[in-house]
């Protein structure tokens, strides 16, 4: 299948390893991946903060850039949620008939990564290996807006070597909410503190999710508090293979930089000494 990657602006800028992992995973599964270079941002930040006029111009851009794509896949549940849920409404509000038509035409071809794998490709085992203790945080937008259901968990369960532990209070928001984390920083932090306590209860080495925005929030506090737990995007876990698992000793992290990021291979935590290898 020909897949056009929408990487999302913050993945592009702050989390390139997530985009790289997505490319490697999709190519490993035998698909052709293209990255339309004109892409920037879906407009979610503007929309959620109340700048709807500005969002319309970004939505138009997005639709133009991807109009010819066979399939669009994005490793970000909140961006796909934005596109699927709000583009049609924005288009109607803008009164631009062409935009309404184009959005209608494009939407059925836009997928969040885990939904693409499970629902479209009907895959659960993507041949990944990730021998670490992992807990999964279902982000609000993937859970309640995009309704990805258990797609990410079904994928994770089939990962070789993984020790998947349930996150208590998983469905509760981490307190990110885009500009909420800045406008209502104290309340946001109170929510995050509880989320981090739950994550630590699991004893996981890695907290994963299908959205780096929430992981940036969770990871930002974990890092500040010098916690050992790392945040890793779902795509990176699914891209990890047995071969990669033998290179380094720790799971890939949202923070510690390493040369492998630039070399383009998704670093992946190999078996830690003492971790049983299935």
């Amino acid at each position: 299948m020909n897949i056009s990657l929408f990487v999302a602006c913050f993945n592009d800028t702050l989390y390139p390893e997530t985009g790289i992992a997505t490319v490697q995973l999709l190519e490993r599964l035998g698909h052709r991946v293209d990255f339309p270079r004109e892409q920037t941002c879906c407009g979610q930040v503007h929309y959620n903060t109340g700048y709807q006029d500005e969002t319309v111009s970004l939505a138009k851009r997005f639709v133009d850039i991807f109009s010819d794509a066979e399939t669009v896949v994005a490793p970000s549940a909140s961006c796909v949620g934005m596109i699927r849920e709000f583009y049609p409404k924005l288009a109607i509000l803008s009164g631009d008939r062409k935009l309404i038509r184009d959005v209608d035409d494009l939407l059925p071809r836009v997928y969040e990564l885990s939904q693409f794998l499970v629902n479209k490709l009907e895959l659960e085992d993507v041949g990944a290996c990730y021998p670490h203790r992992v807990t999964y945080h279902p982000t609000c937008h993937s859970l309640r807006m995009l309704r990805v259901g258990d797609a990410p968990l079904r994928l994770l369960k089939k990962v070789k070597g993984i020790d998947l532990v349930e996150l208590p209070g998983a469905e509760e928001c981490c307190g990110f909410g885009g500009t909420f984390a800045i406008k209502n920083a104290d309340t946001s932090m109170a929510m995050l503190t509880d989320k981090i306590a739950r994550i630590k209860e699991t004893g996981a080495e890695v907290c994963t999710a299908s959205d780096n925005s929430c992981l940036m929030h969770i990871g930002g506090a974990l890092n500040r508090q010098r916690e050992e737990v790392k945040v890793v995007h779902l795509a990176e876990i699914l891209a990890s293979t047995e071969a990669a698992s033998t290179e380094t000793n720790s799971p890939n992290s949202g923070y510690k930089k390493s040369g492998s990021q630039n070399s383009g291979s998704t670093e992946s935590g190999p078996t830690k000494s003492g971790t049983p290898n299935p």
Partner: protein
């Protein structure tokens, strides 16, 4: 508008900060909301047709709003036919005046009152007190709040922020019972004895109402303690204040809401008492019934097609109990009788966006969507929050004077959108940020940012721009 609720209040974020430090409040609230939340899930899960009921509830309310003038006139006719008297009030002052006059004409100085958000909204008790009429709150929690000179903090459990020992101390003092323990049963008994005397001698009862049936003129009060029955049955005169959005078309529609409301609000299959009365009945209950139809900003909400759905609310409070923000800040941070997610969309629409406190409410949410999921009439709260944020932005742009036009957020957002509209500008910005961030970096992360962004880095590190962005990596491949 002249709601007595209007006044200068601080913004949500300012107040929230002070409540977050109150660990007693947070533990009371956390316990309470978790308990109701779990119970609600249980009684909702046993309903195989819950989604069909929600959809019917939504459709009925939508139909009401589209034909509100018609149903109000129909209600007036049915209530009058059944022996009641209907009054219309444009705003709080007008409603309070009507009620005051009714009480004074009857030469009374005291009224018993059943918990009602609508009468709280119009500040009825204070308005009556100014003219030496005592409105006695008879709901246990409202009595506690009234005695403490406090404000309610939850739609359904107004004293949710007080624990048993705080209540014991209050009752010891106000009821003159120095030997009271903090056993809830004993505290409840003390309130029962005190209020019973009042009920049996009351000449005037005041209530709000959950539903009013246009077709039959039937008015409903849904409650647990029996104080609603007391207030609507025993006094000679009953005055009920009804927000105009509480109307439903037909008697049959009650079968929908009487299933949705109890399970969503108190998490019961049915709450202990429901009273439905139709005008007056000879020899049974009040012989005089006055229904005050209240606008007080509701037609303003109706005028915004994207926000109109807010009027569908049946005041169950399920959205409060699942809201992670409400759970941490409590109800007082919302500075309104309508706290939580529903308050965050209702208050700004009722009061208007020039009220800074009200205008801060649409931002008091992470848009996590938990409220929408539990709403028994499917109000899309997150979407209305975003819509209202848009209205706040436009309001500040148009009415905020020069400060509104050059506020840093607006400028930042405009610049950001401009940047994102062109690949070359976007790529240049990435490179510039990578150069500039050196000044903020420490141990490979950004740990201190200036201005608005300092809210983030006060407690969280930020990932810096990557040494090689994804698009730079992609270029190396091809």
């Amino acid at each position: 508008m002249s709601s007595s609720e209007t006044g200068i209040h601080p913004t949500f974020e300012k107040t929230a900060r002070s409540f977050l430090d109150n660990s007693q409040l947070r533990s009371n609230l956390g316990h309470a909301t978790r308990t109701i939340r779990d119970k609600r899930r249980g009684v909702v899960d046993e309903m195989p047709d819950w989604e069909e009921l929600r959809e019917a509830g939504r459709q009925i309310k939508q139909k009401v709003m589209q034909n509100l003038d018609h149903y109000l006139l129909q209600l007036e006719t049915s209530v009058t036919r059944a022996g009641g008297v209907v009054h219309w009030a444009r705003d709080a002052a007008e409603a309070n005046r009507i009620i005051l006059d009714l009480i004074k004409e009857r030469g009374e100085t005291e009224a018993v009152k059943v918990k009602s958000l609508t009468t709280d909204e119009i500040g009825l008790n204070k308005a009556l007190a100014k003219e030496d009429i005592m409105a006695l709150e008879t709901d246990l929690a409202e009595l506690i709040v009234q005695m403490a000179g406090d404000e309610p903090s939850h739609i359904l459990v107004p004293a949710i922020h007080k624990n048993r020992s705080e209540i014991r101390d209050l009752f010891r003092d106000k009821l003159g019972k120095p030997d009271l323990t903090d056993n809830p049963a004993e505290l409840t008994e003390a309130a029962r004895r005190y209020l019973r005397k009042k009920f049996l001698s009351a000449k005037i009862g005041i209530s709000g109402s959950n539903f009013a049936v246009a077709e039959t003129g039937t008015v409903a009060v849904v409650e647990s303690e029996g104080n609603g029955r007391m207030c609507t049955t025993l006094p000679q005169t009953l005055i009920t204040v009804l927000g105009i959005e509480k109307i439903i078309p037909a008697w049959q529609d009650l079968e929908v809401f009487m299933q949705l409301l109890p399970r969503s609000s108190t998490a019961e299959r049915m709450n202990p008492y429901n009273t439905f009365w139709t005008g007056t009945t000879e020899g049974d209950g009040p012989q005089e019934f006055h229904l005050v139809l209240l606008d007080n900003g509701r037609t303003q909400v109706l005028a915004d097609p994207a926000g109109r759905e807010t009027l569908h609310c049946i005041r169950c409070s399920a959205c409060l109990n699942v809201c992670p923000v409400y759970e941490r800040t409590g109800g007082h941070a919302y500075h309104s009788v309508y706290p939580g997610p529903i308050g965050a969309i209702l208050t700004p629409q009722l009061r208007g966006l020039s009220d800074k406190s009200a205008a801060s409410l649409p931002y008091a949410s992470t848009l996590c969507g938990a409220c929408y999921e539990v709403c028994p009439v499917k109000i899309n709260i997150p979407e209305i929050l975003v819509h209202l944020r848009g209205r706040v932005v436009r309001h500040n742009k148009n009415w905020g004077g020069i400060r509104g036009k050059v506020n840093p957020e607006l400028m930042g957002m405009k610049w950001l959108a401009w940047t994102l509209r062109s690949r070359s500008r976007y790529e240049r910005a990435q490179k510039m940020a990578r150069k500039g961030q050196r000044w903020f970096m420490h141990d490979d992360v950004i740990s201190k940012l200036p201005g608005m962004l300092s809210g983030w880095t006060a407690m969280r590190d930020l990932r810096p721009v990557a040494e090689q962005t994804f698009r730079e990596w992609w270029r190396t491949r091809s």
